[in-house]
Amino acid sequence: MDASTDTVLSQKLRELPQIDPPANGWQLIQAQVALAAPREKRRSLDGTAWLGMAASAVLAAVLLTMEPPRPAAVVAPGQVAIDADVLALMQRSQALEADIRRASTPDVDEFRFAIEAAIQDELTLVDVGLASTAKPDRTLWAERVRLLEELRTVSQTDTGTLLMQASVD
């Protein structure tokens, strides 16, 4: 068989399907890029980068200080009745936010910042969903609680442990 014209083998090898890498590939790269970012920023930090970071910080602050969507209104007379389990989720949500506010520190490293920003992005989506529903949605409130618990865990975990978890996941 002439290797240079071995079209059968070429075809057979090319027909092999592509393979998906593990799903956490991007998260690991993102985390490592975030770790490398401070060095790069020291070299050249332009106004746009500062603007982006400031915007993210403001968004984070707003998310952590804002009231959960409509929790007070739902218990008022004449308003939509709320199931007991949804009310419990709302209260849990408020308690978690208080915990996170207490645990927050001004000095956040890049890796932690990236993780918290990702969770806060998801929280924003949930809050948009909650704000657009007339009746409190149990699934969305449960998701809000789950994300806040995740955020609280991150805020209470040292960066070294977070890095180890990221490399294992």
């Binding site: 290797a3 059968v8 057979k12 090898l13 690991l28």
Partner: protein
């Protein structure tokens, strides 16, 4: 000849955004190329964990070196070069440079004609790492013998003989009907 699986056109604007350290843009590039990079690494190294490392190494290096990309060649070719270098770096690290001996081929029907993809994938795993890498770069990625020789820091005749012998070995294994049951690996 079908183009490489890497041959995906990337808009210059997306590359420019990634060069400005826009992580969203770089994530889009990752989503476009993560399968070709991982597939190349896994087919060459036959080891999931090492292939995943190659995937990470490739994109981290690409992110670091994006500013050196000059737009004068396709982006995919630039990225593929990084991926191939990362994979071959691990091939060299294995230090199992077993080279296949010449195998006498018999005439008649080509047993590969009827082989399934699963069989071909299994047979590929049974080749020595270097032969597998040479075979993959030549037949799938369309590397020339000169490019392979350069990548391995060997002669052109090394590339030619490995391509020929690896092909013959695959056919011999298939003809022996000794499809080995390997560790689970997607085909």
């Amino acid at each position: 000849m079908t183009a490489s699986t890497f041959a995906i056109e990337v808009p210059d604007l997306l590359i420019a955004r990634a060069r400005r350290r826009d992580l969203g843009a770089f994530e889009q590039i990752y989503r476009l190329f993560n399968r070709p990079v991982y597939t190349l690494a896994l087919r060459i190294l036959n080891h999931e964990s090492e292939a995943f490392d190659v995937l990470q190494d490739t994109f981290l290096k690409a992110y670091e070196q994006l500013e050196s990309y000059r737009f004068d060649a396709p982006f995919w070719a630039w990225l593929r070069k990084i991926a191939v270098n990362a994979a071959l770096g691990r091939v060299r690290g294995r230090r199992d440079f077993i080279e296949l001996e010449a195998i006498e081929e018999h005439g008649g029907d080509d047993p590969l004609q009827a082989a399934t993809s699963a069989e071909v994938a299994q047979l590929l795993q049974r080749l020595p790492t270097v032969s597998r890498a040479v075979l993959w770069l030549y037949h799938v990625e369309g590397y020339s013998h000169e490019e392979i020789a350069q990548s391995f820091e060997r002669s052109v005749s090394f590339s030619k003989s490995q391509v020929a012998r690896a092909g013959a070995k695959l056919r011999a294994l298939l003809a022996e009907d000794e499809i080995w049951t390997p560790a689970p690996i997607p085909c």
